[in-house]
């Protein structure tokens, strides 16, 4: 196990360009789980990003919030400016415990690409963009287009996440719901984030597909004003958008049933087409 301790982001990008198979690490809250048994990871070479204070910023610009790649859940939870984006602290507060929230980063949640990620749906529902960097340049990718399949990222091997940009828009409806085995310290069985702004409805599901997924069929259904008079009225749209599986935490049938009911109950007070 070789570890490169990056002292600047440019140095980190050079290392990633030369050896794209290094494991980038910031908070480590996923990578270090059951570490003594993580033999495959211990064989890899690592790139430590944790000292790059240039990436730990949170900037509120007039119409955008910029989260540096080292911004943590706790940074957002304790920063009252995030009342403007309340689903971010709400989601952050459901991730592990305080000791995880002080270490885990939003960018790490994106890069780790768990379908059960809790930070990702909150970012995606606000139309966040991922700022990718490499030695050959910078580019921006909508988070909703960032995943091609299970753990398949839009990012190229030589790229690192530099920051996340979240548009600041007035929302008249916002909801984040997480269903786990218990209220705290649980991995999501069924999750969703829902928001409405001048940009329209956004509906994002987690633990319902191989990736966190924006549910465009459901969004169109809600936008269209088509009548929905029961949770089952959402099922065909849900089946077009997501494909939950049976796994150690839950079953596909439970997930679909709970998701349809939660989404119906969430939208009922907000949509006149729901009855």
């Amino acid at each position: 196990m070789r570890v490169d301790l990056a002292t600047s982001f440019e140095e980190a990008l050079r290392i990633k360009a030369e050896r794209s198979d290094v494991v980038p690490v910031a908070g480590g809250t996923d990578l270090l789980v059951h570490w003594p048994d993580a033999h495959a990871l211990q064989e890899r070479d690592w790139l430590d990003l944790s000292a790059l204070t240039e990436l730990s910023h949170i900037h509120f610009e007039p119409d955008t919030v910029v989260l540096g790649a080292l911004a943590t859940y706790w940074d957002v939870i304790q920063d009252q400016r995030f009342r403007a984006l309340p689903l971010l602290p709400a989601a952050a507060a459901t991730v592990g415990s305080l000791q995880i929230q002080t270490r885990g980063t939003w960018a790490g949640n994106i890069a780790n690409a768990s379908p059960a990620a809790d930070g990702v749906p909150a970012l995606m529902v606000y139309d966040a963009e991922v700022q990718l960097a490499s030695t050959s340049g910078r580019r921006s990718v909508p988070l909703a287009d960032f995943y091609h399949g299970y753990k398949q990222l839009e990012a190229r091997p030589e790229e690192l996440i530099e920051s996340i940009r979240v548009p600041l828009r007035p929302h008249d409806f916002e909801n984040f719901t997480k269903v786990g085995s218990r209220a705290a310290q649980a991995i999501t069985k069924v999750g969703m984030a829902v928001a409405h702004s001048a940009a329209g409805w956004r509906i994002v599901a987690n633990s319902m597909a191989p990736t966190v997924r924006r549910c465009r069929t459901l969004e169109r259904l809600v936008e269209s004003g088509g009548t929905v008079d029961s949770p089952d009225g959402l099922l065909s749209a849900i089946r077009a958008d997501v494909n939950p599986i049976d796994d150690i935490r839950s079953t596909a049938a439970y997930r679909e049933r709970v998701f349809s009911r939660l989404l119906y109950q969430t939208l009922l007070p907000a949509c006149s087409s729901f009855s």
Binding site: L5, L32, A51, S97, T102, Q185
Partner: protein, 155 residues
């Protein structure tokens, strides 16, 4: 076999330390096995139980999830730094039975006591939720935290 150890310097319990660490060591291993500070306990090893809680640059973290080399140039505080009175208070509150969770509980409680304004926005129970206790329950833990309550004298 080549020596792949990494030299790091950091502040441990207010004193500077420099040593070479195995790249595979976690902060928890560094404290217990390299530095001989066994007060920090390993519970679950997956960031659930909080028994290994220490302060890293002033905030509680699970030392089982921190690679040792990540503490370079940072400040670490462990249970060994804790004043006896703070531990006594926890013991008096009936917090400890088997004791495995206690060092972590005390470290989170110390941070809470040092940042009492957090309690205007978050409950002590919520902030302590990352420290699991399977013996005594949580009422004693909350009772053992010394929280400044402005109204206490008037009540």
């Amino acid at each position: 076999m080549t020596d792949s150890r990494i030299e790091i310097s950091f502040t441990l319990n207010r004193r500077p330390v420099t040593l070479r660490v195995d790249p595979r060591s976690r902060l928890l291993d560094l404290l217990r096995y390299d530095l001989g500070l066994p007060g920090t306990k390993e519970g679950c090893g997956e960031g659930e139980c909080g028994a290994c809680t220490v302060h890293l640059d002033g905030v509680p973290v699970n030392s089982c999830l921190v690679p040792a080399w990540q503490v370079r140039d940072r400040a670490v505080l462990t249970i060994e730094d804790t004043a006896e009175a703070a531990v006594e208070r926890m013991l008096d509150a009936g917090t400890t039975q088997c004791g495995a969770c206690t060092p972590g509980v005390v470290m989170t409680a110390r941070w809470l006591e040092a940042n009492p304004r957090l309690l205007e926005r978050f409950s002590a129970r919520h902030l302590m939720a990352g420290n699991l206790c399977r013996c005594t329950g949580y009422d004693g833990i909350i009772d053992g935290i010394e929280i400044p309550v402005p109204d206490r004298e008037e009540a």
